[in-house]
Amino acid sequence: MSTVYILWLRQLKRYFRSRARMIGSLGQPLLFLFALGFGFGPIYQRAGGGNYVQFLAPGIIAMAILFTAIFSRIEIIWDRQFGFLKETLVAPVSRFHIMLGRTLGGATVAALQGVIVFLLSLLAGFRPLSITMLPLAFLFMILVAILFTALGTAIASLLEDLQGFQLIMNFIVMPLFFLSGALFPLQGLPKAIGIAASVDPLSYGVDGLRGTLVNGAHFGLFADFAILGIITALLLAVGGYLFSKIQI
């Protein structure tokens, strides 16, 4: 347990010590929120969708969590050559605990980024419908954070150097985000996009956040929660296995 705790703590210390990184990673979600939110707002309203910022904000919160979670894990590739990872791998502790500590640490950081984006979205005019649902929304943030941190761990365990990074961005992270329904409603989509969205785990995270924050869940909150939970457990197992197989 002390292994898990100390690795979690390390991740948080690093987060709070590098303000530049913290602020830098908020730039993209805020740009999306303001540019898309206000840019598409009028046309969304005219099409009868209502307030677009209200619709978009949960998606952008999910985006901030996704990006932070995956990036915090990609550093494993770097870390195993020049960082602390090797030091932990030769220590007499279980690899699964190392993976768990790092994943929970990364997930905590990602969830915190989500909370910050949520607070900033209030400035853009976003208003959650009910305060009592906020803890549930936070629960979804944590679940999404753990899921994608575990996914990042699994990917990073397979990669030897940073050259695969672009590949991951273009073929995993971006599709996960754009097909998740973060930016558009899932109703009435062309069939192919609809299917893609329904196999994208982020869709359920976005849906859960939207359901708890603005009351518009497409799949239903329970389904969102169950599916996210199952995928998270699965990815933790796969990530744990791949991580335990890392040889340097």
Binding site: S2, T3, Q81, G83, E87, T88, V90, A91, P92, Q247
Partner: protein, 263 residues
């Protein structure tokens, strides 16, 4: 009982034998130099001994533990300074030590006293609360040595510990290591490209080339054997003058990227 015992150790990467059936022994309390040109198999051997890499075949014993069968016992037996830095730059010197202590299950009180003692030993106690990213290469090395000693290992691995350091710092680091070996009886296994370091510090030397051990003995014996006056000349006589073209690996790519970023 030898501190390290290796028998017919082999590691193949995609059919290429990086380490080819090597055998050697390091006595307890000995300073042992493992020399060889680039790509000879030094780091691969260290990685296998320190449980980071699984051998293709062969046997190893570390403080009488099999690193494959009892990795955690083997891990408690050694401390290591890697070729590439393995400190957390965003943490302070003391925090890096604390982390190590927790990972190795060193009790809190003991941890505090040992950290103070070791940081004093490598003359970093007054910088204990500074972030490691502000440290020079030599300071980082010293900190890594202190950290590697925190759990009182029987064996200390040093993989090119003085690479890129100036002569002052190198002399300094070697005086710690020799001191440690003398007073605590700790076994030291190191690699280096600086032959004079091996000549001065090592009681025994093994030279590895293309995955095979080509010679073994004290510096004096190796010089006699090759009829040379300098260990460097003995080394060249044993391994030839051809420059080794090492295939760039993933690690090498990262190292290059890192160099660019540092500028």
């Amino acid at each position: 009982m030898p501190a390290i015992e290796v028998k017919n150790l082999t590691k193949e990467f995609k059919g290429l034998k990086a380490v080819d059936s090597i055998s050697f022994e390091v006595k307890e309390g000995e300073i042992f130099a493992f020399l060889g040109p680039n790509g000879a198999g030094k780091t691969t051997t260290i990685k296998m001994l320190t449980t980071l890499l699984h051998p293709t075949s062969g046997e190893m014993r570390l403080n009488n533990y099999d690193p494959m069968a009892n990795p955690d016992d083997a891990r408690r037996s050694f401390g290591i300074v890697f070729q590439d830095p393995s400190l957390d730059d965003e943490l302070t010197a003391k925090e890096n030590m604390e982390f190590h202590g927790v990972l190795y299950g060193v009790q809190k009180d003991l941890r505090a006293s040992r950290i103070e003692q070791l940081l004093n030993f490598v003359e970093l106690w007054d910088r204990k609360d500074d972030l490691v990213k502000h440290f020079s290469g030599g300071m980082k090395r010293r900190l890594e040595i202190a950290r590697g000693l925190l759990h009182h290992p029987k064996i200390l691995f040093l993989d090119e510990p003085t690479l890129g350091l100036d002569p002052q710092t190198r002399t300094h680091i070697w005086s710690y290591v020799k001191n440690l070996n003398k007073e605590e009886g700790i076994t030291v296994f190191f690699t280096t490209h600086y032959m004079e370091e091996a000549d001065r510090a090592a009681q025994k030397i093994a030279i590895i080339d293309r995955g095979k051990i080509v010679a073994e003995g004290s510096a004096k014996e190796l010089k006699q054997k090759t009829n040379t006056n300098l260990l460097e000349d003995a080394f060249l006589a044993l391994t030839g003058r051809g420059i080794r073209e090492e295939e760039a690996s993933g690690a090498e790519h990262l190292r290059n990227t890192r160099r660019l970023w540092r500028r």
